[in-house]
């Protein structure tokens, strides 16, 4: 019954999105206001159907209705309620449904916020959104149907993927990623609308930029959450491994970041319109490529635990969207005429251009590194992996250059720059960079790239702080977007420095301990207190307890563990991390033996890791500051004396 209702809702959503797309494009062609009105209704209807369908699925999950295929697949009476709720995105079929919900909410939100505005562009935007929606809605009853009826429902199920139950970060990482990925559909729709309309006016930049900024914020945080999860769960002590699925999340982020920057130049100087539109389209296309990478099973990855048969279908969609984008761009890019020009390469806009080239270079570097093993296999029949060395050797210099630009770009004025101006703005912050690099050297930094990163980091931090404080208290009212951008920059500077320091200055050691024995790492003494077996509702855990002291004073007790889930053959090791503001102590069990009370443990001290998570949150916050529009609050701005007079 529930399954039938679900299937009906999904089929209705396929119909509504497909019909809505046709109505919208027809309205765009004839520039009909009534047509636009109708298209908007279709957009709302699609969102409503997706929301109800997701609600039906959640209801089925919570009531353990195993006659619904997806519930039989991922449901279990023995898992906690929060696990049941989030198992919606624990497996392919449910996550595509969740994807549809997010898409519906984005489309309805964007349609609502642009009501009565941009009437000449909106039909095309809504048409593009609903076309993409139709594709994902089609996946649900087709190759990824969660609402299959189970004729003989089981009494209980296996429960969702253990990885989802193993750490709370896995609960929030997927929604953020979907909000980032799916959100790129909205700016894609706006970009296509500009091309279809053959015009990109100044006013239309606002929705384009805002709709890019929102998913960018989610994607930024999602990438960090993914890295944090890997760090807290996978047990090798790192947070990024250039795994194809990690790269899949980074690729659209790189092009979206480039687009956010080129949009500023477009706004200030009236140039780079076609380029910005291309970057926005690329960001969307890369989210589809990323979906293919995660779901097709073509790439070998620790993260792609939702492999399935939908690979070919997504590839067809990717091909269709690529074709649509390229043809549209080729036909119409020349009609987005430039209104201005770039006067001098040594200027703010010149630096924006360099920034864009670097981001595009990074995108290609990561993309080629990710797909290269497939190329080799296709042509030479041999398997290979590109691995860390390639990415590190390519990305580290480019990332360092980017850090340099975060400093130099904002220090240079718009337009033409005199030599003295350039020198003055470039040399002053250098002092700050030298101070930071010297401090790093004194604290033990010897890796040349780390020292260069510290130098540029100190440099960029100085420029960012000076620029942020320019304009004083009024800045939150008038220059809100600018301040938001500098907050993002401040976060980015910290992230890059923290990555350089944490990856080059860690100490690692391994020890085999029996109960009561200790090992030392850095300033810490780690004493093995013994093992403990714990039965939890959804798993069995073998826990190793360690007392951590520093200079004889107790610091903390740590409990790295091995979790055994009933549906998995291998236990999942979960390290324990003691985070402080300067460094993390990381304990990961390699081997544990409760019978002899012995454990072999990997110990790791990594400096500055927490700063990565904190600084990415700062970047997200900066994005929010830039996004939230300033509302003129007339009452608050009235001089106090007037208010006092009124009250009197």
């Amino acid at each position: 019954m529930t399954a039938t209702l679900g299937r009906f809702l999904i089929l209705a959503s396929v119909f509504v999105s497909a019909a809505g797309a046709m109505v919208a494009f027809a309205a765009g062609k004839s520039q009909s206001l009534d047509g636009l009105k109708m298209a908007r209704r279709f957009a709302y209807a699609f969102a409503a159907l997706m929301a109800i369908a997701t609600g039906v699925m959640e209801y089925a999950l919570l009531t353990h209705d195993f006659s619904v295929g997806y519930v039989a697949q991922v449901g279990s009476r023995s898992v906690p309620t929060w696990v049941t709720i989030v198992s919606l995105w624990s497996s392919l079929e449910g996550s595509i449904l969740f994807w549809g919900l997010v898409m519906g909410l984005y489309i309805a939100g964007a349609t609502w916020l642009t009501r009565g505005q941009y009437v000449d562009y909106m039909p095309f935007a809504i048409g593009t959104w609903l076309s993409c929606a139709a594709f994902f809605a089609f996946l649900i009853p087709g190759p990824a149907n969660p609402f299959v009826s189970v004729p003989n429902p089981p009494l209980d199920g296996n429960g969702p993927n253990p990885l989802l139950q193993n750490h709370y970060l896995m609960v929030i990482h997927p929604p953020f990623l979907y909000l980032g990925y799916v959100g790129m559909t909205i700016p894609f729709g706006f970009a296509c609308a500009a091309l279809l309309r053959g015009r990109l006016g100044h006013a239309f930049l606002k929705p384009l930029r805002a709709s890019l900024m929102l998913p960018w914020i989610f994607l930024t945080i999602a990438i960090m959450l993914g890295g944090w999860w890997a760090y807290e769960v996978l047990g090798w002590g790192g947070y990024w491994a250039w795994d194809p699925v990690e790269n899949a999340s980074l690729l659209p982020w790189l092009t979206a970041t480039a687009a956010l920057h080129s949009a500023v130049v477009m706004e200030r100087r009236g140039v780079l319109k076609g380029w910005t539109v291309t970057l926005v389209q690329a960001s969307f296309l890369l989210t589809i490529l990323g979906t293919f990478m995660t779901r097709s099973g073509v790439f070998n990855s620790v993260h792609s635990f939702t492999q399935s048969s939908i690979g070919p279908t997504i590839l067809v969609f990717l091909a269709a969207v690529l074709l649509y984008s390229i043809v549209l761009l080729a036909l119409r890019v020349d009609s987005l005429e430039s209104e201005g020009r770039i006067d001098s390469p040594v200027s703010r806009e010149g630096m924006f251009l360099v920034n864009n080239l670097i981001f595009v270079l990074l995108t290609f570097t990561v993309l080629i590194g990710t797909v290269f093993p497939l190329v080799v296999e296709a042509f030479r029949g041999k398997q290979m992996s590109v691995g860390r060395p390639y990415f590190d050797s390519m990305v580290v210099p480019v990332g360092t250059a980017l850090l340099f630009l975060i400093g130099v770009g904002p220090a240079l004025p718009w337009g033409r720059t005199t030599k003295q101006q350039a020198l003055r703005s470039l040399l002053q912050p250098l002092a700050s960079g030298l101070v930071v690099a010297t401090i790093g050297f004194v604290l033990g930094a010897r890796n040349p790239w780390t020292l260069v990163t510290l130098l540029f980091g100190g440099y960029a931090a100085w420029v960012t702080i000076v620029e942020m404080s320019r304009g004083g208290a009024k800045v939150m009212k008038r220059g809100r977007r600018r301040v938001g951008a500098y907050i993002v920059h401040a976060g980015a500077v910290i992230v890059l420095v923290a990555i350089a320091v944490s990856s080059t200055m860690k100490t690692q050691t391994e020890a085999q301990l029996t109960r009561g024995q200790s090992a030392t790492i850095g300033a810490y003494t780690v004493t093995f207190l013994g093992t403990e077996e714990r039965n939890e509702p959804n798993r069995q855990a073998t826990i190793a307890r360690f007392a951590v002291t520093s200079n004889g004073k107790p610091v903390t007790t740590m409990e790295p563990r091995m979790n055994q889930y009933p549906q998995m053959r291998e236990p999942i090791g979960t390290p324990d991390v003691h985070s402080t503001i300067t460094r993390d102590l990381y304990l990961s069990i390699m081997n544990i033996d409760p019978s002899t009370q012995s454990v072999s443990v990997m110990m790791l001290i990594t400096p500055m890791v927490s700063w990565i998570w904190i600084a990415v949150m700062i970047m997200g916050l900066g994005g929010v500051v830039a996004l939230v529009p300033y509302r003129k609050r007339v009452v608050n701005e009235a001089p106090l004396t007037d208010v006092a007079a009124e009250v009197a």
Binding site: G274, G297, G311, L315, V327, A330, V333
Partner: protein
């Protein structure tokens, strides 16, 4: 019509789609080895659980299962009982465990606790593992009576996988 955009865009799109299309349907975890059909690389190493020296050249005449593992490898814990239980049931097949990147003490402790039913040797400098092109543990090679490698399996084996591969080594 902007021809540059069309040509550059089409070039990138066609290349990307072609590569992705060719990748469809392949299993990225199945790592091929050029050693299939070639004579098994030689090694003669002393067993850690006994006094004998295992010389692979002397094992000709019956199928050999060479299992690379280590005490620090979690999936090896899972695989170990499968091998220990199945080896005595296949008296015509010689099982050899090759442990690399490990110490004799740890291996003996592991075997005492988890059992053993066939010789295990320590590949001290990892030389044998390199000659067999081992990318990670566990990895298992199946050698026919003529001393030729006929199959390789990456990852922990189940009884079915073990038996299917041993059958291949029996036939050829």
């Amino acid at each position: 019509m902007n021809r540059t955009v069309l040509i550059v865009g089409a070039a990138i799109a066609i290349a990307l789609l072609a590569v992705l299309f060719l990748g469809l349907g392949k299993d990225p975890t199945a790592i091929e080895t050029p050693l299939i059909g070639k004579p098994a690389p030689q090694f003669a190493l002393k067993a850690v659980n006994g006094s004998e020296t295992i010389d692979i050249a002397r094992l000709r005449g019956k199928p050999v299962v060479v299992n690379f593992w280590a005490t620090w490898c979690v999936p090896c814990y899972q695989e170990h009982p499968v091998l220990v239980e199945n080896a005595p049931a296949m008296p015509n097949v010689q099982f050899v465990g090759v442990v690399f990147n490990d110490s004799a003490d740890k291996i003996n402790a592991f075997l005492r606790q988890n059992g053993s039913s066939y010789p295990t040797v320590l590949d001290e400098q990892g030389k044998t593992a390199i000659e067999y092109g081992v990318g990670g543990v566990p990895e298992t090679f199946f050698i026919n009576p003529k001393g030729v490698i006929v199959a390789k399996y990456v990852g922990p084996m189940t009884p079915d996988i073990l038996q299917a591969n041993v059958a291949k080594a029996m036939v050829q």
